[in-house]
């Protein structure tokens, strides 16, 4: 295996040759057919220009577009579907995924070149599909097939990262939620890993339903649900953009840009509640667009209302973002049309009511959302006043930086998007300003620099990342219109290369900034590094605790072991961030085990401690070992002192009950009076 992965250059060359050969053979076979085939319109009833797939939509209002979209099937729809380049691009996607898998293997075996292999692989997945989607030679059907192919290909990048079990941070809290539902047969079980996730049971309900009916386990059920939801997300996003621009090509390019957003490849591919929230939001948006086009048709209104209700109980931030967009759209509609009628006002109103009603169940989400925003605002004040330095971009909390070229492309991607937005806005104003939703989306895109600025803050970084992802729905369409506009100054032969290159840069930038470089690839254990901290010892402790101690015991431990104990171990570890009133991190940092530490354990009702000696071997990659509010969180300069972790040894009444290579479990019930 080492030999296979070592000589990466040879394999890259082999891939390029294979890729070229496949395309040559395929295009050779299909060229005769292509020359005979008549290039029909690209969508049913659309006034598309033949051969180019571009609509002449000047002066087309949304209502006009609606009347054309609803027309009977065209000649193309009644004839057989042509796959076009889909088979060849399916092969390039598969080759790219093989490289990604080899990169993960190289990461595990610490072979040099794993990073390069990863990028070669993921770009082999992205670029050929992107080029064909952008090409004006593609038909609408082919474009849709390729968008789905690309979406699934990028999803498999995440699945190949962790193909046999959950390893991503948020997946463990969802695991716990589903496990509790399966056991109790009830929703709303308190989750020791997450303060509010049990109040948004949409994803756990779907996964539990899938498990119960299909008989599959939690991991396959989870990845299937999210996989199907992502296909729906891509299709719904495409359909919304197609309704707005009335061209298959612009919609395809905008969907492509949407897939380049920082949270698409990894963060929103997790089996976590936001990953399901996005598809529901996109479908709701599509139904809302269709409803506005045909207000007297109740179908889409019903779908939109059901969608809003389902989204409200699935993910808080996505439901707020959707309702905010609907309200903004309503505002633009009122300004433009001077009336509330025939707009999205009803759906927006129902969304607001839905969210307010759900607050009766989930009022604690206000505190959950307020806390990080308050921290970020406080930090912003401190940074502006010079009290604390701003966060250094790309540097992780252990001091490592990704390679220079990766940082350069990340900056270039952000810069290109920032440059493109004004061009897109100008174009929208010139051509689409009668389209109220497009104007609303353009308004959202105007605010895009704000979440980028949050990346300069330690506490604002995650908010910025999540907000960027949500705003990309608007940004992607504006940016797509911008690149198409900008490409017009180029000779036609160069346009495809230009647009593909620009979007590839945005894609690389998104992957770079959306997921930490050490977390993208698999590899040996790192301290407090989420996916990179998943290994056998923590799992062994969790399974032992479940089998020997029973479920539901109170543990105090670090972030990594807490996840395993709460999911596989079925324990109730204390977590301040998940809503417990005590922060036990000081118990572990302290060099002595005295009355203060014992009192902290007593307040938390702690029965067992899990001490991972590896915490003393490095700085935490996520910025903290135990809780985000611990001493020196995000600013640790030295690892936890080894003697601080060893201080429980020999203390009378503290029983050392389990030891594996690096982890020790102590029973502290005798000192905290939590004896059974």
């Amino acid at each position: 295996v080492h030999n296979v992965v070592r000589d990466l250059r040879r394999y890259v060359l082999f891939a390029v040759v294979l890729f070229g050969a496949v395309l040559t053979v395929h295009w050779g076979f299909t060229s005769k057919l292509r020359s005979r085939r008549s290039e029909g319109p690209t969508s049913s009833g659309h006034p598309y220009t033949p051969h180019r797939g571009v609509v002449d939509s000047r002066n087309l209002s949304v209502e006009r577009i609606a009347s054309t979209v609803a027309a009977p099937p065209s000649v193309e729809e009644r004839t057989a579907v042509e796959l076009g380049r889909f088979p060849a691009l399916a092969l390039t996607t598969a080759i790219g995924l093989l490289f990604v898998a080899l990169a993960y293997l190289a990461g595990h075996t610490e072979t040099t070149g794993a990073v390069h292999l990863f990028w070669v692989g993921i770009l082999t997945v992205f670029v050929p599909c992107a080029a064909r989607i952008i090409s004006s030679q593609s038909t609408r059907t082919e474009r849709i097939l390729l968008l789905v192919l690309l979406g699934l290909g990028l999803y498999l990048v995440k699945i190949f990262h962790s193909p046999v079990g959950f390893t991503f941070y948020d997946e463990f809290s969802n695991w716990r939620s589903v496990n509790d539902i399966v056991k109790s047969q009830q929703l709303f079980n308190t989750n020791p890993l997450h303060r509010v996730s049990h109040l948004y049971p949409g994803l756990p309900a779907v996964v539990t339903g899938t498990m119960n009916i299909s008989g599959l386990g939690i991991f396959p059920s989870g990845i299937i649900v999210i996989g199907i939801a992502r296909v729906t997300l891509i299709l719904a996003t495409y359909l919304v953009f197609e309704q707005l621009t009335s061209t298959s090509r612009t919609a395809g390019i905008a969907t492509l840009v949407f897939m380049a957003n920082p949270t698409f490849v990894f963060f929103n591919a997790q089996v976590a509640y936001e990953s399901l929230g996005w598809p529901i939001a996109a479908i709701t948006m599509f139904a809302a667009v269709k409803h506005v086009q045909r207000p007297k048709d109740p179908l889409r209104l019903v779908v939109a209302v059901v969608g809003v209700a389902a989204l409200t109980v699935t993910h808080h931030l996505t439901s707020y973002a959707l309702v905010a967009l609907l309200l903004l759209w309503t505002g633009v509609h009122v300004i433009h049309k001077r009336t509330l009628r025939d707009g999205p006002a009803l759906i927006a109103l129902l969304g607001v009511i839905s969210i307010l009603l759900w607050f009766l169940v989930s009022s604690s989400v206000i505190e959950y959302v307020r806390l990080p925003i308050g921290r970020a605002a406080n930090e912003l004040t401190q940074v502006l006043s010079g009290e604390v330095p701003s966060r250094q971009l790309f540097r992780d909390y252990a001091g490592h930086m990704p390679p220079f070229w990766e940082r350069a492309i990340a900056y270039a991607g952000a810069g290109v998007v920032l440059l493109g937005i004004p061009i897109g806005l100008w174009r929208i104003w010139k051509r689409y300003r009668s389209n109220t939703l497009l104007v609303a989306l353009a308004t959202v895109a105007l605010a895009y620099p704000l979440p980028l600025g949050l990346r300069f803050l330690v506490y604002g970084n995650e908010i910025g990342n999540r907000t960027t992802g949500h705003m990309f729905f608007a940004v992607s369409l504006v940016f797509a219109i911008a690149v198409i506009t900008a490409a017009r100054v180029l000779p036609s032969a160069a346009r495809l290369v230009f647009i593909t290159g620009i979007i590839a840069v945005v894609f690389v930038s998104g992957v770079s900034t959306g997921w930490a470089h050490w977390s993208r690839l698999s590899g040996p254990y790192l301290v407090a590094a989420d996916t990179r901290s998943v290994e056998s010892q923590s799992i062994q402790v969790a399974v032992w605790a479940r089998d020997e101690l029973g479920a539901g015991n109170r543990f105090a431990t670090d972030r990594t072991n807490r996840q395993r104990l709460a999911s596989q171990g079925e324990q109730d570890p204390v977590s301040f961030t998940a809503g417990d009133t005590v922060d036990t991190s000081s118990v572990f940092f302290s060099r002595e085990f005295g009355p203060i530490e014992i009192e902290a354990l007593r307040v938390g009702g702690i029965e067992y401690l899990v001490v991972d000696r590896r915490l003393a071997s490095g700085l935490p990659m996520v910025g903290f070992y135990f809780e985000p509010g611990e001493d020196n969180a995000y600013r640790h300069q030295t690892p936890v002192a080894p003697d601080a972790l060893a201080k429980f040894d020999g203390v009378q009444g503290v029983n050392r009950i389990f030891e594996t290579k690096d982890i020790v479990v102590y029973d502290v019930r005798a000192v905290t009076n939590e004896a059974p």
Partner: protein
């Protein structure tokens, strides 16, 4: 193009009934359950609902697919909330009854409401031999990539390390349970149980196979005091200077001491 009035409703009903049957009768075939069960959760409720509520509407294929999946997921979420408040809770019977019932109801309503001149438009895909060959090749490469990914993932969970544990026995008074779970390599250990300087029991050559689990219950002598814990020290045979693992338990003193007795069990995990 084929004109088939309600073949879709027949297929939907058949899949639903199949899923209903295998769930109710507890058919233990994962392939059958998954094949029929996944559509019942993620596709059919929405499809049937759209067919029932809007029997004469023409959807594009993509729009129908998107709306069917989206409405199915929404129905499952909202249905989960509904089942939650019933006495039966979220279990496979209640799920399959709710979703299966909705699908069958939807298809029945759709069948009644569909007009005689309704026709289902189905598109065929023009498949050339070279397309089939290239897609087959793509699938092969994809499977190879998946195999490499699964192989690579094993590194994350290996090697498996040995562990030692000790807990007071709940079954036998004044005794402790001690367990050793071996790691990824067959190893010979030496296990010593002591209190203070006194050895209670010792296994000088404890050979365990890969991932073998060994457990013993040891009754404690009367000399146990609260000043010294009962300790278990596990040495690897070729390194007897320092224990590899060390666990202990503080007792408050043993009042009704028994003779040392042993109960040993082996288990492969």
């Amino acid at each position: 193009m084929k004109h088939l009035r309600s073949i879709d409703l027949v297929v939907v009903s058949a899949v639903t009934l199949l899923s209903f049957t295998v769930t109710i009768f507890g058919v233990d075939n994962t392939l059958v359950r998954a094949t029929s069960g996944l559509p019942l959760v993620l596709l059919l409720p929405g499809y049937a609902a759209l067919a029932a509520l809007f029997p004469s509407r023409r959807f594009g294929a993509i729009e129908r697919l998107v709306l069917s999946i989206g409405v199915s997921i929404a129905i499952t979420i909202l249905g989960g909330l509904l089942i939650h408040v019933t006495p039966w809770g979220l279990q496979h019977y209640s799920w399959v009854s709710l979703l299966g019932g909705l699908v069958l109801l939807g298809t029945a309503v759709a069948a009644v409401r569909r007009s005689d001149n309704f026709c289902l438009t189905m598109q065929s895909i023009r498949f050339k031999r070279v397309d089939a060959f290239v897609l087959g090749l793509a699938l092969t490469v994809l499977v190879a990539g998946g195999a490499v990914a699964v192989y690579a993932a094993q590194y994350q969970y290996t090697p498996d390390y040995a562990s030692l544990w000790m807990l007071p026995s709940e079954d036998v008074e004044n005794s402790v349970r001690i367990g050793v779970r071996n790691g990824s390599w067959a190893t010979t250990y030496r296990l010593r149980i002591r209190t203070g300087d006194e050895t209670i029991r010792e296994w000088s050559s404890l050979s365990l196979e890969e991932e073998e689990r060994w457990e013993v219950t040891v009754s404690l002598p009367s000399e146990i005091t609260e000043d010294n814990p009962v300790e278990a020290l596990l040495y690897v045979e070729d390194h007897l200077v320092e224990p590899e693992f060390h666990v202990y338990w503080w007792f408050e003193g043993i009042k009704n001491a028994d003779d040392i007795s042993l109960s040993i069990s082996f288990q492969w995990t």
